[in-house]
Symmetry: C2
DNA sequence: CTTCCATGTGTAAGCGGTTACAATTTCCGC
DNA sequence: GCGGAAATTGTAACCGCTTACACATGGAAG
C-alpha cells in the first residue's frame, strides 16, 4: 500500500521547465528576481501538480523548523490552558505550529522535553510554570538553553529568575501585596495562608508579597498560619482543613492560586461554613472559572491570555537584546470576602 | 555566532571505529546482531561525544516522524483540555511528542492544520470536536485523511460519522436520554433546551437523545422550547435569557454542555433566581469544574481523560482493521436539580 | 580441505530540499 | 559594435540519517 504519487520540487521544476534551484528560489524566496513571468509559471506548476513542500527536508537543510515548543505544567490546569491559548493564537498568526508538552512540574521531564524540542530545531522554546530551582537539573537545563539559543533558537520563560532568554515576568509579589492590603483595610487581622511548594519561584514571590503586605500594616504571619500543599484543588481542600481545624482558625484564607482557593471553598462548603460570613477566601491568577465560583472569587486577575501572547511575541524577537516584559495583575473584588464579624 | 560543535552520526562511527551504517544500526535497531561488544562500544562513543540524533534527518529518510498531531476545538475549553491531557499522557508513555492545534470549530482552519500535520509526517492525527458536516471542506478533509492514511499515517476521530480511521465514539444521545429520563422521573414536564450549532454532530446527537428521552415518556419539545447558541459560557447566558424571558418559562433547563450550563447558572443567579428551587439546570460532559459549581451541576459525566487515552491508543494501532471504541457517560446527580415546585 | 550459508560490515544511493559557486545571459555606456 | 558589470540560471555539494546491495568473514556440512 503506497501513498499517492508524491510531488517533489524536482517534478515542479521539470513541469515548469526550469532547474531545481530556480524552482526552489521562486517558491520560497519572494525577494528573488527572476525573468518576467517565471515566478508565475513555477507557482502555477506547483499548484497544478499539488506540490507540498516536505518540512523535514527543509528543516534539515536550513537547520530550523517552523514549529514552536511550549513547555507547561499541565494542560488541564486552566491557568496554563488559558496561557497556552494566547501562545497558540499568536503562533497561528505567524503560521507556526505549537508542540506542547506537559512537565507536571517534574524537572527531569522538563529537561528531557526541552532537549527533544531543541533537537527538533523548533524556532523557539517557551517555558511556563517551571521550577527553576531544582538544583539537580537546573544546571543541565541552563546549559541546554544556552546552547540552544546559541544555535539560533529563541528562549522565553514565563518565570523570572532565568538568566537566559527573554522573560515575561508576572508581578506575583506585587499582586499579592495589593490583595493583602485590601484584606487588611477590610478589617482582617487573622490570616491563614494555603501555600504551594517552595521550590516554585512563583510561590515564593507570592508569599513574599503576602508577608510584605502584612508588614506594611504592622502585621506578621505566625509559623502556623501557613501550610504548604500541592497546588491543586485537592491541595486546597487539605490546606483549608489544616488551617480551619486549628484552635483559633483564621478569618481570612489566602490561597496561593485560584485552583487552590476552589479546593478551600469546597472544603468549607462541605463543613457547612459560609463564605464570606464565616471566613473570607481569596485566590490568585484570575482563571475564567473564578467568576463562576459561588461566592465568586476575589482574586488577583492576571491577563493570562495576554501573557501567552507576549511570550509568543518575544519568541519571535532575536535573542539579543534580552527583553523582559512585566505583567501586572489587577485586584478583582468579588463576593468571597467580607469584613470579619 | 555558531552553535556548539554538532556531533553527527559520522563522528560517532569514526570514534567507535566502524562505518556510518554500522553505527546507525547499533544505535537504532535493537534487533540487529553485531559482533560481540560492538554495540556497547558504539553506544559508549555516542554517549561520550554527546551524540543527539537529528530527528529531521531521520524523518526525511524514514518518511515518518515521532510526533502526533492533535486537532481540538480550543485548549481553553476544559472539555478539550481534559481530553488533551489524556492524549498527552499516553503519548509520553510511547515517547511521542504532541503537536496541538486549535481549530476553533472553523472547518477551513481544521483542514489547513490537518494538511500541515500530514506534511510533517506525524505518526497519527487525532481529531476531536470537529464539525464533520461542513460540506464546503468536508470533501477535501476526507480526501486529505484518506491520502494521509494511505501513506501510512493513522487517523483517529473523537466523533462518529467519519468513514476513515479509528473512532472513539461518545454515546451522546444515550447519555442525554438517560439524563432526561431522570428529570422526567423527578416530575419535570416543562423543559427548555439550550442547544449548540446544529452543524456539530455531537449537538445533533445530544438533541436526538433529549427528544428520544422525552418521547419515551410521551412528551415532546415545542419549537420554542429550544434555542441555539454558541457553545460557550456566553452562549449559555444568552440561551437562559431567551428561554426564561418567555411568557411561560420552563422549569428545567437542559444545557447542551457543562460550559453552557455554567453560563445559564450565572444568568439565573444574576436575575436573583434560585437553582434548583426556581428552575433545575443540567449540563453534559462532566468537566472537573462541574463539581465546584454552586449548586453543583447535575450532568452526564464523560470519562474525558480516558477518551483522550483511548484515542491515543487507537492512534498506535494499524489503520486496518478499523477500531471503534464506544464510550458511555454516567449520570451524576448533584444539587442543580430538584422536583418542580 | 573445499563448498555453501549465515551473518556482520561497508559502500553508496537515496530522502527532498537549500544554496555556494560557476556559467550564462542581459543590459549598459562608450 | 564591444567590454564588462549586473542579473539570472544551472550544477552540484551539502544537511544527517536509513537501508539496499555488494562484499568479506566464520563456521558447519560434505
Amino acid at each position: 500500500m503506497v501513498g499517492q504519487p508524491l510531488v517533489r520540487l524536482q517534478d515542479v521544476a521539470e513541469h515548469a521547465g526550469v532547474s531545481l534551484a530556480t524552482a526552489s528560489r521562486m517558491l520560497s524566496d519572494p525577494e528573488y528576481g527572476g525573468r518576467a513571468g517565471l515566478r508565475e509559471r513555477v507557482l502555477a506548476s506547483a499548484a497544478e501538480l499539488g506540490y507540498r513542500p516536505n518540512p523535514h527536508a527543509r528543516a534539515l537543510a536550513m537547520a530550523t523548523s517552523t514549529n514552536i515548543g511550549l513547555v507547561i505544567h499541565d494542560v488541564r490546569d486552566p491557568y496554563f490552558a488559558t496561557l497556552s491559548g494566547g501562545v497558540i493564537t499568536v503562533a497561528e498568526r505567524h503560521d507556526l505550529l505549537v508542540s506542547m508538552v506537559c512537565s507536571y512540574r517534574d524537572a527531569s521531564r522538563e529537561l528531557e522535553y526541552t532537549k527533544r524540542l531543541a533537537d527538533q530545531r523548533v524556532r523557539a522554546i517557551i517555558l511556563a510554570g517551571s521550577s527553576v530551582r531544582d538544583s539537580a537539573h537546573a544546571a543541565a537545563m541552563h546549559a541546554e538553553l544556552v546552547s540552544y539559543q546559541h544555535s539560533g533558537g529563541s528562549v522565553v520563560s514565563v518565570t523570572r529568575g532565568r538568566t537566559v532568554g527573554h522573560v515575561v515576568d508576572i508581578d506575583n509579589s506585587g499582586g499579592m501585596r495589593t490583595l493583602v492590603h485590601a484584606m487588611v483595610e477590610l478589617g482582617h487581622t487573622s490570616f491563614g495562608v494555603i501555600a504551594g511548594p517552595l521550590r516554585l519561584l512563583a510561590v515564593r514571590d507570592r508569599l513574599q508579597g503576602i508577608r510584605q503586605g502584612l508588614k506594611d500594616h504592622g502585621l506578621t504571619l505566625g509559623r502556623d498560619d501557613i501550610v504548604y500543599v500541592d497546588m491543586s484543588r485537592d491541595g486546597g481542600l487539605a490546606g483549608a482543613h489544616l488551617l480551619m481545624k486549628r484552635p483559633k482558625p483564621p478569618r481570612c484564607l489566602l490561597a496561593i492560586s485560584d485552583v487552590v482557593a476552589f479546593g478551600a471553598l469546597s472544603w468549607l462548603r462541605a463543613q457547612g461554613m459560609t463564605v464570606p460570613d464565616d471566613v473570607s477566601v481569596t485566590g490568585f491568577g484570575g482563571i475564567p472559572a473564578a467568576i463562576d465560583a459561588v461566592p465568586s472569587l476575589t482574586t488577583v486577575e492576571l491577563p493570562l491570555e495576554q501573557v501567552g501572547e507576549n511570550a509568543m511575541e518575544l519568541a519571535l524577537k532575536p535573542a539579543s537584546p534580552r527583553h523582559i516584559v512585566e505583567v501586572k495583575g489587577t485586584l478583582v473584588r468579588r463576593d468571597s470576602v467580607a469584613p470579619p464579624r
